[in-house]
């Protein structure tokens, strides 16, 4: 891993259903993934609010991924619909403020099969690794 890779911190909010079952199966298949991501399991992607995402960037995350079920496949009766809408809106906000909406990955339904999970994580890692450092956005170290 290069020195740059050390700053590829990715925070993944994943629902306990489609979001994480792919991760589990990828693990069972021993698929090698970069160790740059941390997972916060949630009941539903609907739990994830813009404030949490922004907080993640402020705490050192270079990229945030929110993984949930397909639209129409949410266990909690489409609680993921408003989630997707508000997070898409957040992307626009991130673009406007210069942080970049491309630091937020929304995967609704794309991560429930193991190779999709693995591809998603690897691709996002590569993508974030190629973005300029977040240093200018972070508060000075205490």
């Amino acid at each position: 891993m290069t020195a740059d890779a050390k700053n590829v911190n990715i925070l993944v909010f994943a629902c306990r259903w489609c979001g994480l079952i792919g991760a589990d199966t990828a693990g069972r298949r021993r698929m090698e993934l970069p160790a740059s991501f941390r997972v916060i399991p949630v009941e539903c992607a609907g739990y994830v609010e813009p404030d949490a995402v922004i907080r993640a960037y402020a705490s050192g995350a270079a990229g945030v991924a929110v993984l949930g079920c397909h639209i129409g496949g949410c266990r909690f009766n489409d609680a993921n619909h408003p989630a997707l809408k508000r997070l898409e809106l957040l992307k626009t906000l991130l673009d406007t403020t210069g942080i970049g909406g491309n630091r937020l990955l929304l995967g609704f339904g794309t991560a429930h099969e193991y190779h999709q999970w693995a591809d998603t994580i690897r691709a996002f890692h590569e993508h974030v690794a190629g973005l300029p450092s977040m240093a200018s956005w972070l508060p000075a170290k205490q």
């Binding site: 489609c18 079952i21 199966t25 069972r28 129409g72 099969e113 193991y114 190779h115 999709q116």
Partner: protein, 400 residues
């Protein structure tokens, strides 16, 4: 609640059996759930996707399987059969024969060392989403070297374990054995078995599965090339007085699901469904079929093929009459998927006199309590309804 605690035997651990077991357990009664395979879930758990949502098939069923496993009122017997079933003192006395798996699920920690050690590839997980995940040894591939036993850290592996016989006195029996595929080899016109690219729809489902070896890619089985065209043949062997006279109810929607999924993955593939009556009875099914007509590209052709055979230069010829034009066509397809070869499952045990009465077409007759495909061709939703209905009738009792 009124009444004493009953014991009910449910034969079959697929959608129907699981649903019935959960309803009976929730009602305060005990269930013995007998399943011939190494885990619950049946045919439906093997599917890649469900219609009409096109969502992955295992997840909703997985929740119910887990509930069954965590329920204290449900005793699950896998790798098991009802060996004998007799009447004794007004109840059903069943002897359940439990084969002991080579890998003890109570001790297997799913570390995978047996798989790594096995030179024949005989050690594998029982299925992708088993809860808890467990390995098994495929006896047909096993070379008897016992390397797996040495590798296993918890001593979970033992060959030649004894079978167990468990006697259960049940108040009622529910038959929920589901369906099996019937070999289409006798029906020469469909060409099944003559070419790797002529498959049944369940074979195609596994072949194209997202979690399968091809990672959801649509490929020919013969050479793994991308097919340019796929024909889906409905009523293959079904609604046919020479073979299976009945309609399997699920095949039209199943073909639509597969064809639409192929188009979604690879819009360039020409998908044609050859059908007789497009049976889209059920919630939102007709609208699901409509997605074809409006530009998605799955072509629906009304006509039954008379001949399907491999061509010497490659590909498969399908001879059929297109009833909308009245013309007979011979068209070449890269793959042919056959739908319709489903029959109610016929376990070989217990002895015939202990098995439930069946009608002419092989479905369990109303003299016994049954649910799911073994009673009448049914999809997941219908099976779940019938299972709850069977649960009620067995709780209330069928005698007097």
């Amino acid at each position: 609640m009124a009444g004493n605690r009953k014991t009910i035997l449910v034969v079959g651990g697929g959608v129907a059996g699981i649903s019935a077991a959960l309803d009976i357990a929730a009602g305060g009664h005990r269930v013995h759930l007998v399943e011939k395979n190494d885990d619950l879930g049946g045919q439906v758990a093997k599917l890649d996707k469900f219609y009409p949502t096109d969502h992955c098939a295992f997840c909703p069923l997985w929740t119910e399987i887990r509930r069954c496993k965590e329920s204290e009122a449900v005793t699950i017997h896998t790798l098991s059969r009802v060996e004998t079933l007799e009447q004794a003192e007004g109840r059903h006395r069943a002897v359940i024969l439990e084969s002991a798996p080579v890998v003890d699920p109570a001790l297997c920690i799913y570390c995978g060392r047996c798989e790594a050690a096995c030179p024949k590839g005989a050690a594998r997980p029982i299925w992708e989403h088993a809860y808890p995940p467990v390995y098994c040894i495929d006896r047909e591939r096993c070379g008897d070297c016992r390397a797996c036993m040495e590798a296993c850290p918890t001593k979970a592996i033992a060959f030649d374990r004894d079978e167990r016989k468990i006697t259960v006195d049940a108040d009622e029996v529910i038959w929920a054995a589901g369906f099996d595929e019937v070999s289409l080899a006798p029906m020469k016109e469909y060409g099944w078995g003559t070419h790797p690219d002529i498959l049944t729809s369940l074979e195609f489902e596994a072949w194209k599965a997202e979690a399968g070896d091809n990672r959801g890619k649509i490929l020919r089985r013969s050479d793994r090339a991308v097919p340019r065209s796929i024909a889906f043949i409905q009523c293959a062997g079904a609604r046919d007085l020479r073979f299976l006279p009945y309609c399997s109810a699920v095949c039209c929607m199943h073909a639509l699901k597969q064809a639409q999924w192929v188009k979604r993955r690879n819009p360039a593939v020409d998908c044609v469904i050859l059908y007789t009556d497009l049976r889209t009875v059920g919630r939102d099914y007709y609208e699901y079929a409509l997605r074809d007509f409006n530009g998605n590209g799955v072509r629906l052709v009304r006509g039954r093929p008379s001949m399907i055979h491999p061509l010497p230069g490659g590909g498969i010829a399908v001879r059929y009459e297109d009833t909308s034009t009245g013309r007979r066509e011979i068209r070449k397809f890269d793959m042919v998927v056959l739908n319709g070869n489903l029959k109610p499952s016929l376990p070989s045990r217990p002895a015939p006199e202990a098995r439930p009465e069946r009608g002419d077409e092989g479905f369990v007759s109303p003299t016994a309590v049954s649910c799911g495909f073994v009673m009448e061709p049914a999809d997941v939703t219908e099976s779940a309804i019938q299972a709850s209905s069977a649960a009620l009738r067995s709780i209330l009792g069928t005698r007097g």
